[in-house]
Symmetry: C3
Subunit: 314 residues, 3 copies
């Protein structure tokens, strides 16, 4: 694994989940591995969990960390090749990525979808710009299309809470006042497709995810029916993929309630809008795994950094 | 002491002042104590001294530090319970505090009074939100009602400069072009009330502090008279408490001058507006303790962190 | 050397270039030197290379680093003496510099020219304010008049790539859509004047640099002619010094092309506007040294910090 940009970069998920379990038992058992190595975290968007958990993961591995809010503290970047740069952008990704690679050993990049132009978002200009021009391993801290560190934390959490051999996992769309990207939903679907679970997706018509992500996963439109018998319910809002970036329904009936949840465990990546996405009663119940998911962000990031550091020393 | 949110959390001020003296003599003598421990500093307002001195204190104790400008780098927080979160706030304190507690061992929070609604400020929504929901010790880096790290630094400084057994300490209101919170004045009064000093407060009519803070401390309205025979003059502006958050007087005659000061030592928490709060001649004289007070911010923070770390390892 | 604010602070450039070579071979060979020492980096302007390379340099020396975006995270500073501070500025440099000196062992300051008032820029209010009032060594991370860490990195890079004993080095003005400061050009000229090179400057009429910087260095106005036979071409835009801070020409004919470059090596401090300052073909060729220059920023900063740390321990 040269970079970690997608759930698909995980060579063997089963082995990784075993490794994560071991890491969590002894988080500071590999302090030597990161000694003298520097992690650069470049944020093009806001962040709470990713910012702090990835720093913590690096600290646990003995790494030094440099955090930068790229847009606010650095220079506006140009990503297109051949441009005459006489506008807003002061620096080209070709220089920025190569330069930063010289100050760090591993690079983390967060750059959300802008939800204005599907083709542009699908080209992942920021993440792919760094992937193409950086000379060190790159970690996706949430890009336009995916949030694999979150998905890995979700998989670890599910593994810690599974009772059945093949639990029923339902990803349900939930309402939200603003248009949100597809990254979390995409990566959750992708990682669950690689686990021994019975996965399905339910959302209002018009909110189907990208077909290439859905693959053979069953898609339903009746939330009540889809949630019946679920062992894990993962709620998440996303904007329309077909009418790209649009909010085509804010139907409050899709909010997850304790009644709908039944005996299932509740999952969400956070931040979550209470009483819009899910009612208070769910989050305050023992069925909620959201705090545990957030905790596993540290170990998810630490596992990825550990694998990349091991690759560096080969 | 589980948290450090107020001067009143100090169990024995006399012992603490002795401990501070010892700590200052050997600031890096407890590097083992913070090893493997992480301090999270969450700023909801700007900061210079608190930001740097608290980081330095943690470094002196061998801790790792993660600093975050919460409002600018994270998500807008909701503090009210039961809200339908379909407005500006993207995350509830119930999640944020519990999540961050998993990445840190001690948490520092700075959130000023907004001076618009007294009841809201008195409820200390941010600090109390973290206190209620965090699962780790919380340190007040200045809240609506108090700035105990500053007050402790003030007490250390006064202790270092006292000659008399029971010096006369006067807290005087001073003019300022903007409306300022009561936090520094509150905590200074509270800590002086616990020391062997003869404390009084002087301010123009309309600027009386909260009665529950004043207690039995004498309050005067004639600055010239109040400053006579003072050993320490602490100047600070605050807005009206009665006409909450209003500037009811900008009377420049209240500026502290060398003449008014007499032989007293001058104290201020900084930042200070020169020639508005106090004239240049005072700050440039040997009677000014303001730089020493700022230096003691490191040891004040370090003492608090040390006590909390010792509590963690019990 | 008490501070590092200008190329002229380097006592013996030849020795420093030898030291830089040794440092680069073993960057982490002096971890003991910075142990227990703290570097404070105060940014009044944006930064990518300086921010990250100087942090990395400090890490390589075992130092702790505290980074602060002064304007955005702290208080607006007053630099003029005797002011009645009833306006925007909340803190005077006299306090800020003395206070910060107590939390750090070395201080780095970045504060660009504002290009509105030549006399004000030439007085270097921010850098000189810190120099005057700080009680610890100060490093210039780019001020109104100079960028000596960049110039030192440039000199290291030139040294690594020189073939001839006395190469021909040409600093050429290049077009840019915005008005830029003179700092990089000033410091490059100053450091080249101290090296065994044949230096000349070429720019359109109206873009002559400060005469006190130019000294005896030949100045030309015909770019094609000036670049003939050059071994190193350093391109940089700057605004007019005579018509202070104005863009008096945007003549695109001054863009550096592969054809103009001939066999010379190409240098630029970055960030660079592609196809405005220099064409893509140059930056993508093996003649470009810009990435190597950026890499040498780490060693340039590390050498300066090392010298200052050695001074501290004397």
């Amino acid at each position: 694994m040269k970079h970690f940009t997608s759930v698909l970069d995980i060579p063997s998920l089963g082995n990784w989940l075993e490794d994560a379990k071991a890491l969590k038992k002894d988080p500071r058992g590999h302090l030597h591995l990161g000694k003298g190595k520097t992690l650069g975290l470049l944020f093009f968007n806001n962040s709470l969990r990713t910012r702090l958990s990835t720093q913590k993961a690096a600290i646990n591995l003995g790494m030094d960390v440099m955090v930068m809010n790229f847009g606010k503290e650095g220079w506006a970047l140009e990503f297109a090749d051949g441009t005459v740069m006489n506008g807003q952008s002061a620096e080209h990704i070709r220089e920025a990525a190569r330069v930063v690679s010289q100050y760090c050993d591993i690079l983390g990049i967060r750059a959300f979808a802008q939800l204005e132009n599907r083709e542009l978002d699908e080209s992942e200009p920021v993440l792919n710009g760094f992937l193409q021009h950086a000379t060190i391993p790159v970690v996706n801290l949430e890009s336009a299309l995916g949030h694999p560190l979150q998905a890995l934390a979700d998989a670890i959490t599910l593994e810690e809470n599974r009772i059945k051999k093949q639990p029923r996992v339902v990803l349900t769309w939930a309402p939200h006042p603003r248009a949100l990207p597809h990254a979390v939903a995409n990566s959750f679907v992708q990682i669950m497709q690689r686990m021994p679970v019975d996965l399905s997706i339910v959302q209002p018509s018009g909110y189907e995810l990208d077909k290439s992500i859905i693959g053979n996963t069953p898609v339903y439109f009746d939330q009540a029916k889809a949630l019946q018998g679920a062992d894990f319910v993962y709620a998440k809002n996303w904007s329309s993929f077909e009418q790209y970036g649009q909010v085509v329904s804010e139907d409050q009936d899709w909010m997850v309630t304790k009644e709908k949840l039944g005996d299932a465990k509740f999952m969400h990546c956070l931040p979550v809008r209470r009483n819009v996405v899910v009612e208070d009663a769910v989050l305050e119940s023992e069925q909620s795994l959201v705090i545990q998911q957030a905790n596993n962000r540290t170990y998810s990031a630490q596992l990825v950094l550990k694998k990349l550091l091991e690759g560096l020393t080969l």
